[in-house]
């Protein structure tokens, strides 16, 4: 059976020009007509947001930005690629461990470099054949009809016994989605009885976690971090589990360990920032949010609140009398950058002003606070910033000895 690729849309993500040209030629030879090419992860995300691709063909190594695995995690997490499409990762022999070790988000298939055109064609063909065999399952997953997906997985299993581990995993994940945790536990435990498969252990740990049985979940997440050093997401889950049990210090240490292994994950940096803030560890929080702001520039998780949270770490330092001159400088340049970046986001701009004023008030620097308040007023009149929330205004206007913005507008 050969697939007719002429109607399928393909996306190649590859940073090396030579490989890009060769891969495009290979796909053209297979019969693809509609092929888009992205040189880096950020471009790929933009393309994936605007178009639906049948086949995504991504290199693991994408130069200085995000790597192929991070891109995959973001794409899967944000559902930018349907389950019915195929995601093929091109890796080197040295990076394949990292890709397949990341149990939570895996590509549908992989091919290690160097490969011949014939092998690529074969792997792609096999991948698509499996997608066809599991079409009903994947379509149900895309429709979030988990009940139907379980049924379809059972059907597929009858015809294709070798898909057992894939189908069992899908079914278990569906039970988790349906919040039928006992069913999930039964299924994953059964799978574990034959052999300790990491996905089954992971599923089991999650099921216990969602059932609030943290004493059962914790050792399993911990085991996953020990079994496979490339499954860094297991650390995130372990940290979540520890937090639920109010073991903040341990959770913090776990997140730090995960960040040391894989610092480029924005959600992890955000979580470390949030927890560090909560624990009053503003230095660590500042570093984490600073990295999150940086990573956010090209991420689907980007939101102005990350910048605001970053600024609030300085406020935390100021309120505790820990803010050094160097950090104040850093705060001021962050504010300046944020104001520029949020030129067209009145809501974000307002929050930057608010944090700035709060910080100067904490430092007892009324002069700077007033200057900031005046600038805010100016931006409000040109509609580039929202007015302050009532409570904030009521609290700080008397301190600054000025009329509140609301009054002056009336």
């Amino acid at each position: 059976m050969t697939t007719d690729y002429s109607k399928q849309k393909a996306l190649i993500i590859e940073d090396m020009a030579e490989a890009r040209i060769l891969q495009k030629k290979m796909l053209t030879d297979f019969g693809f007509v509609d092929i888009d090419v992205a040189m880096k992860a950020e471009t790929a995300i933009e393309l994936l947001k605007s178009r639906r691709y049948d086949v995504v063909f991504s290199d693991y190594n994408l130069g200085n930005g995000k790597d192929g695995q991070q891109l995959l995690e973001e794409v899967r997490h944000s559902e930018l690629i349907p389950n019915t499409s195929s995601y093929l990762m091109v890796t080197a022999e040295t990076s394949i461990e990292m890709v397949m070790g990341a149990i939570e988000y895996q590509p549908d298939g992989y091919i290690t470099k160097p490969f011949s055109q014939a092998l690529l064609q074969r792997r792609l063909q096999k991948l698509i054949e499996t997608k066809i065999k599991l079409y009903d399952v994947n379509q149900a997953l895309d429709n979030k009809d988990y009940r139907a997906a379980i049924k379809a997985a059972d059907e597929a299993l009858k015809t294709y016994p070798y898909l057992e581990s894939k189908c069992t995993r899908i079914k278990g994940d569906c039970y988790l989605e349906l919040k039928e945790y006992d069913q999930a536990i039964e299924l994953f435990s059964e799978a574990m009885a034959d052999r300790k498969m990491p996905w089954a252990l992971f599923g089991l740990a999650k099921a216990y976690f969602f059932k609030d049985q943290y004493d059962e979940a914790e050792p399993r997440f911990r085991q996953l971090t020990l079994d496979n050093r490339f499954f860094v997401n297991a650390y995130d889950w372990l940290a979540k589990c520890l937090l639920k049990q109010n073991k903040k210090e341990e959770a913090h240490a776990t997140l730090l360990e995960a960040i040391e292994k894989s610092p480029k994950a924005i959600l992890r940096q955000m979580e470390l920032g949030r927890l560090s803030m909560e624990m009053g560890n503003y230095d660590v929080a500042e570093g984490a949010y600073r990295k999150a702001v940086f990573l956010g520039r090209y991420s689907v998780h980007n939101h102005y609140s990350i910048t605001i949270n970053h600024l609030k770490t300085f406020l935390g330092m100021a309120e505790n009398g820990q803010l050094q001159t160097k950090q104040l400088d850093s705060f001021q340049s962050s504010v300046a950058r944020a104001q520029k970046r949020f030129m067209h986001q009145p809501e974000a701009k307002a929050q930057v002003y608010q944090t700035e004023i709060e910080l100067y008030l904490a430092l007892n620097d009324l002069q700077r606070a007033t200057l900031s308040f005046t600038a805010w007023n100016k931006d409000i009149s040109s509609n580039s910033a929202l007015p302050p929330p009532k409570e904030f205004e009521a609290a700080c206007a008397p301190l600054l000895g000025i009329e509140s913005v609301g009054d002056s507008n009336e």
Partner: protein, 229 residues
């Protein structure tokens, strides 16, 4: 680097060389596309490609060998249709077999399912294949079957067999020759790699192992890799 670690040094050297080999393979493929398959040039480039693949497979073996021996490899098992898996190995190694005028096939029940680390097994099979290629007269086969709780994958040839020292340089007249000594070393390294791979596979306290036997089908050597299921 405080102390020169020869292992790491070699591993990084191999890594770099592998990249170059990969680059050469891509270039050969590009060059090949300029000729029709009937052209002799095409055939020559095909042979160059096979040899480069062999070199690449060799580097891959050494990389995994290094990782396994230094406890730096996390085994990642998944479930596979063994029939499909062997079909692919035959598919990728066939050009090399053809170049040496050796037939290559596989025997496996179409419904056989196996759990193993795919990357390691691909490397073990290619290593075993290149080894068999040196001794085979006409034929090499890959076989897979389930025996008790083990998946047994064997690489068999119609050469002189392990009993007649296929693993220490049979077929070489001049044993004084440095080349044959190195070849011999290479063969035992290949066996060592297969053994480490088999051992790395475990389930329910059972570990994998290898067996040097003779091929019932072809009469030559048979390298059997036992993987607990």
């Amino acid at each position: 680097m405080n102390k020169l670690d020869i292992g790491t040094l070699l591993a990084s050297l191999i890594h770099e060389s592998k990249n170059t080999v990969g680059h050469l393979m891509f270039q050969t493929q590009t060059a090949k596309s300029n000729f029709p398959p009937s052209d002799t040039m095409y055939e020559q480039l095909d042979n160059i490609e096979s040899d480069l693949k062999r070199l690449n497979d060799c580097w891959v073996e050494y990389l995994y060998l290094y990782k396994l021996a230094s406890n730096g490899y996390d085994i990642q098992c998944d479930t596979y249709a063994v029939d499909d898996f062997l079909d692919e190995q035959v598919f990728v190694l066939k050009p090399s077999a053809k170049e040496h005028k050796i037939g290559l096939t596989f025997i496996c029940d179409a419904n056989l399912i196996g759990i193993f680390d795919e990357r390691l097994l691909i490397s073990v099979i290619s290593t075993g294949f290149y080894n068999a290629l040196r001794f085979a007269h006409k034929q090499i086969i890959f076989k897979a079957e389930k025996v008790d709780h083990f998946l047994v994958i064997s690489i068999e040839d119609d050469g002189c067999g392990f009993d007649n020292t296929e693993d220490d340089g049979c077929g070489f007249d001049n044993t004084e020759d440095e080349g044959s000594v190195l070849t011999e070393y290479n063969t035992s390294l290949g066996l060592h790699f297969a053994e480490l791979t088999a051992k790395a596979h475990s389930n329910n306290k059972q570990h994998g192992y290898i067996e040097k036997a003779s091929s019932e089908t072809l009469g030559g050597a048979s390298l059997k890799i036992y993987l607990p299921q």
